[in-house]
Amino acid sequence: MSDVPLGAIPVVDPRETIGSMTDRVSGVPLRTTGWRWWWMALVPSASLFALGLLAVGWSFYRGIRVWGNDWLVMWGFPILAYVWWIAIASGGTFVSAFFFLVRVEWRTSINRIAETMTLFAAVCAGIYPILHLGRPWLAYWLFPYPNTMTLWPQWKSPLLWDFMALFTYVVASVLFWYLGVMPDLATMRDRATRRTGQVLYGFFAMGFRGTGPQWRHLKATYGALAAIMAPLVVSVHSVVGLDFAGAATPGWHSTEYPPFFVFGALWSGLSTVMLLLLTLRRPLGLAPLITERHIQVLAKLMLTSSLCMSYAYILDAFEPFYSGDATERIQFLNRVFGGYAFVYWGMIVCNCLFPLVLCVRRVRASHLMLGIVAVGSIVGMWLERFNIVVISLQRTHLPSAWGRYVPAVFDWMIFVGTIGLFLTGFLLAVRLVPMVSMYEMRELLAEKGQA
């Protein structure tokens, strides 16, 4: 394949028709055999989730002092994991909304996987700030509502903007996903052979039957929502950047942050989509629909976003010296040569240097290498969040507040718990929901004359 130009690789196997494609995709949740790998993945994922629940329960009981957060590094694990998850989530919306608007044909068979990833990653992100409140049962205080204390939220705080952005993003992602899934649930309802399946899919399909008006309004609504989702996702991650930029902490207080965070979202999100595609397309029998074309396009997008990251890191290293601020300089030197220097250099290797192998066509042709780069990106972005959240807070303006943050065992338990939650949720979705948007594929096949 290495000599074939990208555009010549088919975006869908030429032998597929709308009927065979529908059977292939809808057959996955309906089949009763061939799920051994699924159970082998679900059991450890659900166990991790249970471990996380245990740690959350203990944190509620004892209070969040069981975490590693201290008076100097108040943000620690919960916020770094929050930012990490929301970045991964954003990548899915980029694929599904942004590339819908620019009408690229390779978006059609991967948008469902990307959106489902967004959904569960956004849920994982969403629970962290609530846990971090310390008294999560008072989370509703974040909403503006008339109350007996006559208090109103601090509208000028980026933290409140972030709450508004995240809340909007989770609700919007669910509705956008559900709108796109509704016609496919109708297909599932019509193809299910068992009563339970017919009733449940029928209930959630809400009576979508593919009538003329239903399609007409669906297309209009979906297009309009995609046009809103694209700027929304940029705003959400920019606001996450402002959480940091709005504080006077050295290392955070920079106008570079919002775009820098959006680059990071693209990089880790695209890598996660890549990893899911590489893992799932064979066990789900979707290889004729998710072809080499999709993988090569994503590989190039990954390389592009990694280069954007490198640009942001160069600026990040330039600014402390250009600003002439001694604290900024001390903070940066501590980042690069201090006790957590391996985090900084690990981040540089995973996000900037190693992904450069994607410049070589032979490397992009190897799915194993693509998988390794993608895992490296996910690890590298975690290191970046640690680098930003923890290391910056260790060297603030007050030398008396300098110290070292060490995560506690409960921090790790909750973190792996969210990974378990993500994987459990995603696996359940794979088991129950068609993982390719069938109605959009039918349109694509009709355009290609493969009806």
């Binding site: 609700v171 919007a172 009576g207 003329g212 669906l218 297009g223």
Partner: protein, 165 residues
């Protein structure tokens, strides 16, 4: 009612054209994908726009009122009506209202959820969500039904079914 299944989109499109010309109806289509060439008008994008602007305006009003009147919080002599810092929240709130309005109006305009419809009695309609292109003539008038059956003979449907309701 009469339900006719066609093998391809072109067959259904031709039938639709003939039935419209003969003024037999009301007609309804059931298709696996949006039918090409049909008008694509929908009021929903406009509803979304209006809802979004309303949500954003309401959010701005709430922020401005609560920050200047209800809970004035002077810090370092900075202006109370700090409109620029209200912008991120008004954008997010506007988007939330717009998307919720879009989704809900989709349901309301299509009268969903609608878990039962007389047309569901046809077992072959299940192909409509796979690769069957269906035309429904939703009338009970015997004269119209007869004309429809005659017309369908020329249009080469795969299958024709008469249903009650």
């Amino acid at each position: 009612m009469i339900l006719a299944r066609f093998n391809a989109e072109a067959g259904l499109a031709r039938a639709l054209e003939r039935f419209r010309a003969e003024r037999i109806g009301p007609l309804q289509t059931y298709t696996p994908a949006p039918l090409q060439g049909e008008p694509a008008t929908s009021p929903i994008p406009l509803i979304i726009l209006i809802a979004g602007l309303t949500g954003a305006t309401a959010s701005f009003a709430l922020q401005a009122w609560s920050y200047t009147v209800a809970y004035s919080f002077p810090i370092g002599g900075r202006p109370q009506f700090a409109w620029a810092s209200f912008v991120p929240t008004l954008f997010e709130n506007g988007v939330l209202v717009a998307i919720a309005a879009g989704f809900l109006s989709f349901l309301v305009i299509n009268r969903l959820p609608r878990l039962y419809d007389p047309v569901d009695e046809s077992a072959m309609l299940r192909r409509a969500s796979r690769d069957g292109w269906f035309l429904q003539v939703a009338t009970e008038e015997p004269e119209l039904l007869d004309r429809a059956l005659v017309l369908l003979r020329d249009l080469d449907p795969v299958h024709v079914e008469e249903l009650a309701g």
